[in-house]
């Protein structure tokens, strides 16, 4: 039933967030790897009690990898896991063991939301579909975010995450002008669908608050890429053209690119759209002659002479340090920014002031920094309020406090390998 109308107040887990806007919410998080985990992370960041279901018998990819300390694989040492699974609780349940799915059904009966991005069909085999779970939790909100789609031929496609930006059409546009696609070389579909899924869950929660009714939300990593491609789709529909790699060009801007500066592999981005910005650029470059150069007389002319334009800009940036060049350009009203690598981002004064990376203490890795959140609110709580859980760290508390099991029952479940 809606959170406000519950007859008996829920028992929170030890360490739960009592002050966040979503602190009354409990989420069962089957999120696998990055995509599903992000959806849970967003809700957890606002204080929801997000319980990650995991097991040593089938380790999440983000519990694997080379250890940082020592040589033995250690599920507690994957630093990526520490980012997307912060603020969460860990329930070690072997879903393949007899009794495992029952525990989940019991937990969901005390929960509001379920998140999953499993291979299509997996939850059906476990008896944990929306229809199954609704029996004990009629107002359940459940979101499914598999790689491609949940039914039909695409539900059977097995492919790694980088394939999703390819199947969705985005990769076909990533590359140098007129050349072959290079594809997006970093995860994009994952956080993108996680954010869309969290947004849809919040909308469904609003609906539930007003009507008492939950619902099932279906999306996929490939489908959630499509909104980002709206402009390219419009281009194809309206002109018949099929967008292809265009390097750093963007219609309406000249110049628009990344220009190398002094230093090793250092680049700055410059984007000029208006005439005023163009005048500012010429002032920054101390090149009044460019203002009267017919090749660059207006936006259209500049767009026809981009190579020559890039050469002029590149000649200037090539003789300067990145930060100095950016300061000069910004001082003259030109949009410019350094291309920061990971180390530079971590040490950047502006990002530090925005708390882009926040320190947490981890029992195994010690002091570490994980990413914060991109929203600051006037009436809000810190986004990072708890480190990533150890695998199964909260199993006992969940069984005891939420499911009301006795110590002896818990012990026998451990012995049987149902829980960890």
């Amino acid at each position: 039933m809606p959170i406000e109308q519950q007859q008996s107040p829920r028992v929170s887990l030890p360490g739960a967030n009592q002050d966040g806007p979503l602190s009354d919410l409990r989420v069962v998080d089957f999120g696998w790897a990055w995509a599903g985990a992000t959806a849970g992370q967003i809700l957890a960041d606002f204080g929801a009690e997000v319980i990650k279901i995991e097991s040593r018998t089938r380790l999440d990819p983000m519990r694997q990898g080379r250890p940082i300390i020592g040589t033995e694989p250690d599920p507690e040492q994957n630093p990526i896991c520490h980012n997307v699974n912060r603020n969460k609780f860990s329930f070690g349940v072997n879903l393949k063991a007899p009794g495992g799915p029952d525990l989940i059904r019991d937990l969901v009966a005390h929960s509001d939301v379920v998140i999953e991005n499993m291979t299509p069909g997996a939850l059906a085999r476990l008896g944990l579909t929306y229809e199954d779970l609704k029996v004990r939790c009629p107002e359940l909100i459940m979101v499914s975010l598999p790689a491609f789609w949940s039914e039909g031929p695409m539900s059977e496609v097995k492919a790694y995450a980088p394939s999703i930006t390819g199947v969705s059409g985005y990769d076909s546009m990533v590359g140098y002008e007129g050349e072959e696609p290079l594809g997006f070389q970093q995860g994009l579909a994952d956080p993108n669908v996680g954010l869309h899924a969290a947004f849809a869950v919040l909308a469904a929660l609003r609906h539930r608050k007003r009507t008492g009714r939950g619902q099932f939300i279906q999306t996929s990593q490939a489908r959630a890429m499509l909104p980002l491609l709206g402009e390219a789709v419009a281009e194809h529909v309206m002109t018949g053209r099929t967008p292809a790699p265009a390097g750093n060009r963007r219609t309406g801007f000249a110049p628009h690119g990344n220009y190398q500066t002094l230093g090793e592999d250092r680049w700055i981005s410059i984007a000029v759209r208006s005439e005023r910005e163009w005048e500012g650029l010429c002032a920054a470059l101390e090149r009044p002659d460019l203002l009267t150069d017919r090749r660059f007389a207006d936006g259209f002319a500049r767009s026809q002479n981009l190579e020559a334009l890039d050469a002029e800009v590149g000649a200037w940036t090539g003789q300067r340090e990145a930060d100095e060049a950016v300061a000069t350009l910004q001082g003259n009203g030109v949009a410019a920014a350094p291309c920061l690598n990971t180390a530079e981002r971590f040490h950047n004064e502006h990002l530090m002031s925005r708390e882009a990376y926040v320190p947490v203490e981890h029992p195994v890795l010690g002091a570490e920094f994980i990413y914060g959140s991109p929203w600051k609110t006037s009436k809000g709580q810190p986004s990072v309020w708890k480190r990533v859980p150890l695998l199964g760290e909260d199993t006992d508390a969940i069984l005891r406090d939420i499911l009301g099991l006795e110590e002896t029952e818990i012990a026998s479940m451990r012995d049987a390998g149902v829980v960890e």
Binding site: S168, G169, D171, V237, P338, L340, F346, I370
Partner: protein, 400 residues
């Protein structure tokens, strides 16, 4: 105010929106598609700059036919006000008096110059949620920096991952950073509504989006390993072969095979060519580091007379996790993706096919209730609902 909401989950939520181009409009599109009543405020005569960006049918520019604008602005009403003029700002504040949320993408320096701070905007409605999306945020040393989407991608750290070694870093195409920023600002808006937070101010920085949730994880690897990732071109040369994009008859395929068994199944799909048992290729990590160019050529030779769909089918049957690099045209023609697109009747372009909704909801689904509005189409009616006459003087001064 009379609500023009749908039946979606956000029915009854009233959103005043004077954001422009992509980031803010994508946020309000997400809200409007799920039933919120979105009142879009545009500058008189020129409107949202997205009306000028195109693409346009047959490449002929027209204020009511810009593909980007039409796509992003379904389900919204348009009110034309020049908010940077004092009397326009007053109208905006009065509009906010009847709204739950205000979405704003003015650059911080523009808000400063126009006096559009939170206090002013809440003059008629202290409970208003104000959501701002800007390149660097409303605070911090770079607050006043100019920044287009390319710059925020650069500063946010994604460009270093894109492109080929030794060549310029690439921006992600299509200004996707703006979309992610819009999505990120929509989330705390709904949280504030759900938790009945009165007078919440939300500040989303597009650079923060890249630096944190989109691409923040590399930082922890850097701290522990000192490793700074950089672009590698189409093939990732570390880890087991393959992890690359190769050419086939009609385009390209993405080949990634983490497990040995997957690679072995692909070798079987190729008909067990002799070269696959070359002892140099036994260790796939070594194969990747030392022989990837050679093996790429061998595979491309096998693929050169086969289309994407043929190879995709063979791989699916053979249990190989490779997938095509579809073009936009191909994505739009896949029967399985048909429901991911919608046709919308815009005032000037009825029946335009465009990207639909990113999700399906079983009880209260998203819907298209109206096409994108004409510029200022609803100025009179919206202010009539508020009991405000738009004086001829305001119109004469192009405030409204």
């Amino acid at each position: 105010m009379a609500e023009v909401s749908g039946d979606g989950p956000l029915s009854g939520l009233v959103v005043a929106d004077f954001s422009r181009i992509v980031a803010g409009p994508y946020c309000t599109m997400l809200l409007g598609d799920l039933g919120a009543d979105v009142i879009k405020v545009e500058k008189p005569f020129v409107g949202d700059p997205a009306r000028r960006s195109g693409p346009f049918p047959a490449d002929e520019a027209h204020l009511e036919r810009s593909g980007l604008f039409l796509y992003l602005n379904t389900n919204k009403r348009s009110v034309s006000i020049d908010v940077l003029e004092p009397s326009g700002a007053d109208l905006l504040a009065r509009l906010c008096g009847s709204a739950d949320v205000l979405v704003c993408s003015l650059h911080p320096t523009e808000s400063d110059a126009g006096g559009l701070d939170d206090e002013f905007l809440r003059a008629h409605n202290p409970e208003l949620t104000i959501a701002r999306v800007t390149p660097y945020g409303m605070t911090g040393p770079n607050r006043d920096w100019l920044g287009y989407e390319a710059n925020t991608a650069a500063f946010g750290g994604i460009c270093g991952y894109l492109g080929a070694s030794g060549r310029p870093l690439l921006f992600p195409p299509l200004a996707i950073g703006d979309y992610e920023a819009g999505l990120n600002v929509a989330i705390p808006i709904l949280v504030a509504d759900l938790a009945d937070i009165s007078g919440q101010s939300i500040d989303v920085s597009e650079t923060d989006c890249w630096a944190t949730v989109q691409n923040g994880m590399g930082v922890i690897e850097y701290i522990f390993g000192g490793r700074v990732f950089t672009r590698m071109g189409r093939g990732v040369k570390s880890g087991p072969y393959p992890n690359t994009i190769l050419r086939c008859k009609d385009g390209h395929m993405r080949l990634v095979a983490m497990q040995r068994s997957e690679w072995q199944r692909f070798v079987a799909v190729m008909g067990d060519p002799e070269w696959a048992s070359d002892p140099r290729f036994k260790d796939r990590v070594v194969m990747n580091e030392k022989h990837s160019d050679e093996v790429d050529a061998l595979i491309e030779d096998w693929m050169k007379d086969k289309t994407k769909d043929e190879i995709f089918d063979l791989c699916r049957i053979g249990g190989v996790p490779f997938a095509p690099i579809y073009t936009i045209a191909e994505v739009m023609s896949q029967p399985e993706f048909a429901s991911w697109f919608v046709e919308v009747d815009h005032p000037e372009l009825p029946g335009m096919r465009q990207v639909g909704f990113p999700y399906e909801l079983s009880e209260a689904p998203p819907s298209v209730r109206s096409g994108a509005p004409r510029l200022g189409e609803h100025t009179t009616s919206v202010f009539a609902e508020l009991g405000i006459e738009i004086s001829p003087e305001l119109r004469a001064h192009e405030i409204c």
